[in-house]
């Protein structure tokens, strides 16, 4: 915004839980007004990272800055300016929806209108229901309402749509897009690639506490990644090759086919989608250290 400093800055962030290193040197920045996604399999370290930025967990080492504050010191002004949806967290069992939203509104210096927020998350019909009677997805919407009612400029969403039905997911996306239109910054984690693709300006794919790739979802899916060329050889065996530039390979294949006087069958040239990249990067077997090396290379390529 004014000073050009990013909303979130993370440098060589590390976190160990009694010897087990869950986060192993993360670096990323989130600009003001940007929607940034952390994408990765279970146990990748997404929640650990987000909760360090929210001030819930202490980092083992590294530098983090959130809106210019060190979240480890938990300054009150920072808490007034952020909204948090935790991956899992409770609420008073006997509180009513509208009562909860109003109560939380009262904790912030310049809250939004509680009724408006209830409408945004689609809980109008449940405003007088007790929290303990809400369904899982409805509770999740209440989480979102409580995170938004303080009118935060930065919102952390740890798997905000897990447990939502498809319609609720779409409307949550709309809500997040509206936040972006209002100039808010959003850091979200998700397992859903379509969600990352639909919402995020940039995503980082995380596994074993490292970033494997980072960039706008479209670029991760296409320009940044390799081409995959598949065809059938003279014996009808399917072949596939990944190359950075397919020109030479295609020339070779077509001239060989012409020389043989047979058509080149089953030819296709594709660029991997975000899903391919994700599955490719995260599903590789083999030991973590080696993957770390690959990761570094891949990340280089992306940049």
């Amino acid at each position: 915004m004014s000073d050009g400093a990013p909303a979130i800055l993370v440098r060589d962030l590390r976190k160990s839980y009694d010897g087990h290193e869950a986060v192993r040197g993360l670096d990323f920045e989130v600009a003001h007004g940007e929607v940034f996604g952390l994408l990765g399999p279970n146990g990748a370290g997404k929640t650990t990272t987000v909760e360090i930025l929210e001030g819930f967990r202490e980092r083992t080492s590294g530098i983090v800055s959130v809106l210019g504050f060190d979240p480890g010191e938990r300054p009150r002004e920072l808490r007034e300016r952020i909204g948090i949806v935790l991956q899992s967290c409770g609420i008073y069992r006997h509180i009513r929806v509208a009562e909860a939203v109003r109560h939380f509104a009262g904790l912030y210096p310049a809250p939004r209108d509680p009724d408006e927020v209830i409408a945004i998350v689609g809980l109008d019909a449940k405003r007088d229901a007790l929290a303990r009677t809400l369904s899982g997805g409805q509770l999740r919407r209440l989480d979102l309402a409580l995170a938004l009612v303080g009118d935060p400029e930065l919102v952390f969403l740890d798997e905000p749509t897990t447990g939502f039905d498809p319609a609720a997911r779409r409307s949550a996306w709309e809500t997040i897009r509206r936040l972006q239109e209002l100039g808010k910054t959003v850091l979200l984690t998700t397992h859903y690639l379509d969600e990352a693709q639909a919402l995020c300006d940039r995503v980082a794919i995380v596994k074993d506490g490292r970033i494997l790739a980072e960039g706008p979802p479209a670029e991760l899916g296409s320009t940044a990644a390799r081409y995959r060329v598949t065809w059938s050889d003279e014996h009808g065996e399917p072949q596939s090759r990944e190359v950075d530039d397919p020109t030479a390979l295609l020339h070779q294949l077509t001239s060989a086919a012409l020389a043989r006087g047979k058509p080149l069958s089953d030819l296709s040239v594709t660029r991997p989608t975000l899903e391919d990249v994700y599955l490719d990067l995260t599903a590789q077997a083999g030991d973590a250290a080696e993957q770390g090396e690959n990761a570094a290379e891949q990340a280089e390529e992306v940049r």
């Binding site: 819930f56 967990r57 009150r76 007034e80 935790l86 008073y92 006997h94 109560h103 009262g106 912030y108």
Partner: protein
């Protein structure tokens, strides 16, 4: 909004939540009533023993509504992740705790009123001899047992264990502290242990207020002991306060 206003807001929410679960609210008031009814039947007309039992039950009520209630409530809120959620808001920890402890303190005062009324109406003990001593010792008892209750919740691993943890403290303590008999009748070593712990001193003060009419001068050592326990309780309550469940840091 100022911190006082936030604490007041939280207090009002806690009161509403307390009454919205009426059976739980009911049972939290029933324990001293059961004791009063039982001992009233057992000791009807035995004035000497009633004068020991009634202040004893008053002390027990103060402890049950603060120490027991807060140790289990804080463990529950922590396990449920409510504390964690509150921690993510601008609400300061002390305003939040003030709201929760204020709720427990209100219950303690309601129970003292019940015991006083029972003493006057059912047991013919008359009105308290010294209202000021009554209020001061109830307040000190609340401050002491509430802070120790919050501190103790840090030791309790999870909500399922909270009843066992609080009872292992509560039950022996009420037995050695002369809730049901004259403290001076117990063996010397138990007497010494009880004297080192806070409940005896709360009961001494309540007994002075309700029965003997002893003044603050006679109660100086009780005031001192309670002040020390309260200071220790507050220190450990604040120091160990983590907001989160055991898995998170």
């Amino acid at each position: 909004m100022g911190d006082m206003a936030l604490a007041w807001r939280q207090y009002r929410l806690e009161r509403r939540m307390f009454w919205r679960n009426p059976t739980a609210a009911f049972f939290s008031f029933v324990l001293p009533l059961i004791f009063l009814v039982l001992f009233g039947a057992l000791l009807s007309g035995d004035r000497e023993n009633l004068e020991i039992i009634v202040p004893g039950i008053a002390g027990l009520s103060v402890m049950a509504t603060t120490f027991n209630a807060l140790a289990s409530q804080m463990t529950f809120l922590r396990d449920q992740g409510v504390l964690k959620r509150m921690r993510g808001t601008p609400l300061p920890a002390n305003a939040y705790l003030a709201g929760i402890i204020g709720n427990a303190a209100t219950n303690a005062f309601v129970q003292i009123i019940i015991v006083v009324l029972a003493g006057r109406l059912a047991f013919d003990l008359g009105w308290p001899k010294d209202w000021l001593v009554l209020v001061v010792f109830t307040l000190l008892g609340v401050a002491c047992f509430a802070s120790i209750g919050v501190a103790f919740s840090h030791v309790i691993p999870n909500f399922e264990a909270s009843a066992a943890y609080t009872n292992i403290v509560f039950l022996p303590l009420i037995f050695i502290s002369g809730v049901f008999y004259d403290v001076n009748d117990v063996p010397a070593f138990l007497h010494d242990i009880a004297n080192a712990l806070p409940l005896v001193h709360v009961i001494d003060g309540l007994s002075a207020a309700l029965v003997t009419g002893a003044d603050f001068g006679d109660l100086a050592s009780d005031l001192g002991a309670l002040a020390v326990w309260t200071a220790a309780g507050i220190f450990f309550a604040v120091r160990g306060f983590s907001w989160s469940g055991s898995r998170e840091e």
